[in-house]
């Protein structure tokens, strides 16, 4: 045991994680509360999940959210990957500084500003607000996150792999699809997952960009929360947490397994 990992360190970690997880755990527990009062335990029940599935408004919003998430994450992944390639591969072109500024700025931009500016754009070009504008807005901010994830992978990419492919007769475009893309694929996949999560979680930018008929789940939850906390919302939140947590944990378990297998292989290769 590492002696330097003192009691103080353990205590601060335990308290810290309790702080991070307790609210979520309580929220999940109270989604199974029989009582309509969110904060008074009235026995175990799954009835709020039942009523959730009968709540047309929430289910419609969930469906909108999922469609927006899938479409915007996919487009954002393509655009973000292109942006990452531009940033790492084309070091000299006119307007590069502006470009990298535009890629990194949305990461720290307050959401109210991004949302407001996009809305004003849609009004200015006469685009009716709705499903399409929400997707356009989500693509714009999530592509920057994808670009950062993919760029950090490309920075450590061994360029001699591409040179080797060209040396063996593969033209540049073929080299990209046969060598570069498969090698950076894990980063692209995590970029997609990040973009999807950002999209289904977003409230502020959606509220600005959205219009009638395109209410997303966070918008719906927000409007109901303002009226008061209900177990039904707890149930909806629990389901959203479950979806994301299962996805993230599954992905990291798969990653971990692959990593362990890889280390085992490498050790075996060194021995024999």
């Amino acid at each position: 045991m590492n002696a330097s990992w003192s009691r103080f360190n353990i205590t601060s970690i335990v308290l810290g994680f309790a702080f991070l997880y307790l609210p979520i755990v309580l929220l999940i527990i109270f989604s199974f509360n029989e009582s309509k009062l969110v904060t008074v335990w009235g026995g175990f029940s799954t009835k709020w999940y039942g009523s959730l599935f009968n709540n047309r408004g929430l289910m419609d919003a969930a469906w909108v959210t999922i469609r927006v998430g899938l479409i915007s994450a996919t487009v954002a992944t393509v655009l973000g990957t292109l942006a990452a390639l531009t940033l790492t591969r084309y070091t000299r072109f006119r307007g590069r500084v502006l470009f990298s500024g535009m890629v990194f700025a949305p990461l720290v931009m307050p959401e109210v500003i991004t949302g407001l500016s996009l809305l004003l754009l849609f009004v200015a070009i006469g685009l009716d607000r709705g499903f399409l504008t929400v997707i356009l807005a989500h693509i714009t901010f999530s592509m920057c996150f994808v670009a950062v994830v993919v760029q950090s992978r490309l920075m450590t990419f061994d360029r001699s792999l591409e040179e080797a492919a060209m040396d063996l007769g593969a033209p540049p475009v073929k080299t990209f699809f046969q060598i570069t893309l498969p090698v950076i694929m894990p980063a692209i996949v995590s970029g997609w997952m990040l973009a999807f999560t950002l999209s289904i979680d977003d409230l502020v930018i959606s509220s600005f960009a959205s219009g009638p008929g395109a209410t997303t789940l966070p918008m719906k939850i927000y409007s109901q929360v303002r009226l008061g906390v209900t177990p039904e919302i707890n149930a909806a939140c629990t389901l959203m947490i479950a979806v994301v947590a299962v996805g993230v944990i599954a992905a990291s378990v798969v990653n971990k397994r692959r990593e362990v297998q890889r280390q085992r292989d490498e050790q075996a290769a060194q021995r024999g």
Partner: protein
């Protein structure tokens, strides 16, 4: 883009079959597309919207759709455009300075974000330090546990606190039941609730950069300092903290910048009394439908954040250089 053209041109030297000339043209076009597509997207959906925000912040409020004037357009030709330009003015900015509401909102946003950032540092540092000194085998798991809440919805995480902080909420129930207090504490709809909300929501942003600098630190330095006569607390301030400073700066900026413009936390936890600029902008826009004023509020907010963003970026650049 010029560079690509030059490369494409350089390849066009005789002795090559037509097929390969075509192939080169294709690859030159693709490499241009790689740049142009995301570039245009960001220009249209990121840069131009800002220019529009700036322009509208100089316009007049109008009861129409869109609710501002002049609506720019080339309908009246170039001279019409000039007339429209003459209608622009800084009235909205003057309005912002005249109404103390906005000034107070800016100041209170910065103060609340500053205090929350400091609290997040106090909470986050021991956690990051503990993680960095944890056995190497469990560090990846701890790291994942810190990142995991970030993947769950921001709104949900803020919402979860309402049930805890309410007067009849879980925290008061617990404290009353254990006899710590006799009267329920009023936390929800106060600044304290906002601090808790911001610290809670942005804690991973504080921990991650701190952890990545602390993890790289050589802890035998502390032993060396103590060996040379330094007390543990002295060693912390003279060795650990200075070495962790890049992480401290990055973490603080990552919490401070979004916290200044935060909307959901003050809206849900702070109640109607709290004044924060993100909320003011939202209300100005959705409740008052005053687009020009909310645009002006956005422009000032952006100016306010330029300095911290630059501090953050230069800290990042320095960290990257050190990494190499």
């Amino acid at each position: 883009m010029t560079n690509v053209a030059v490369q494409a041109g350089a390849l066009d030297v005789g002795s090559q079959a037509n097929r390969s000339a075509l192939g080169r043209a294709v690859s030159a076009v693709t490499s241009r597309l790689v740049i142009i597509v995301p570039y245009l997207w960001l220009l249209v959906f990121f840069l131009i919207p800002f220019i529009i925000v700036f322009k509208i912040s100089l316009s007049q409020t109008a009861i129409a759709m869109p609710p501002y004037t002049p609506v720019m357009g080339l309908g009246d030709g170039i001279s019409g455009l000039f007339n429209q330009l003459r209608e622009l003015g800084i009235d909205n900015y003057i309005w912002l300075t005249e109404d103390p509401l906005y000034f107070n909102a800016y100041v209170s946003s910065v103060v609340i974000a500053g205090i929350s950032t400091f609290l997040a540092l106090l909470v986050g540092f021991p956690i990051a330090y503990g993680m960095a000194r944890a056995p190497a085998t469990i560090r990846p798991t701890l790291l994942m546990l810190v990142i995991l809440p970030f993947w769950t919805s921001f709104l949900i995480r803020v919402y979860a606190w309402i049930g805890i902080l309410k007067p009849e909420g879980l925290l008061n129930q617990f404290l009353l039941a254990t006899g710590v207090i006799d009267e329920p504490l009023v936390i929800l709809n106060t600044h304290a609730a906002i601090f808790i909300g911001i610290v809670y929501s942005y804690l991973p942003f504080m921990i991650l950069p701190l952890y990545s600098t602390l993890e790289k630190m050589d802890f035998s330095l502390i032993e060396a300092a103590q060996d040379l006569g330094c007390t543990p607390i002295g060693a912390f301030w003279k060795i650990t903290f200075p070495l962790a400073l890049p992480g401290v700066v990055a973490g603080c900026m990552l919490v401070f910048i979004p916290a200044v413009g935060e909307f959901v936390i003050p809206d849900l936890l702070g109640g109607s009394q709290t004044l924060m600029i993100g909320k003011t902008l939202w209300n100005e826009f959705f409740a008052n439908r005053d687009w020009p004023v909310s645009s002006a509020v956005a422009v000032i907010l952006l100016l306010l954040l330029v300095v911290p963003i630059m501090i953050f970026q230069s800290a990042q650049a320095r960290a990257q250089e050190q990494g190499r």
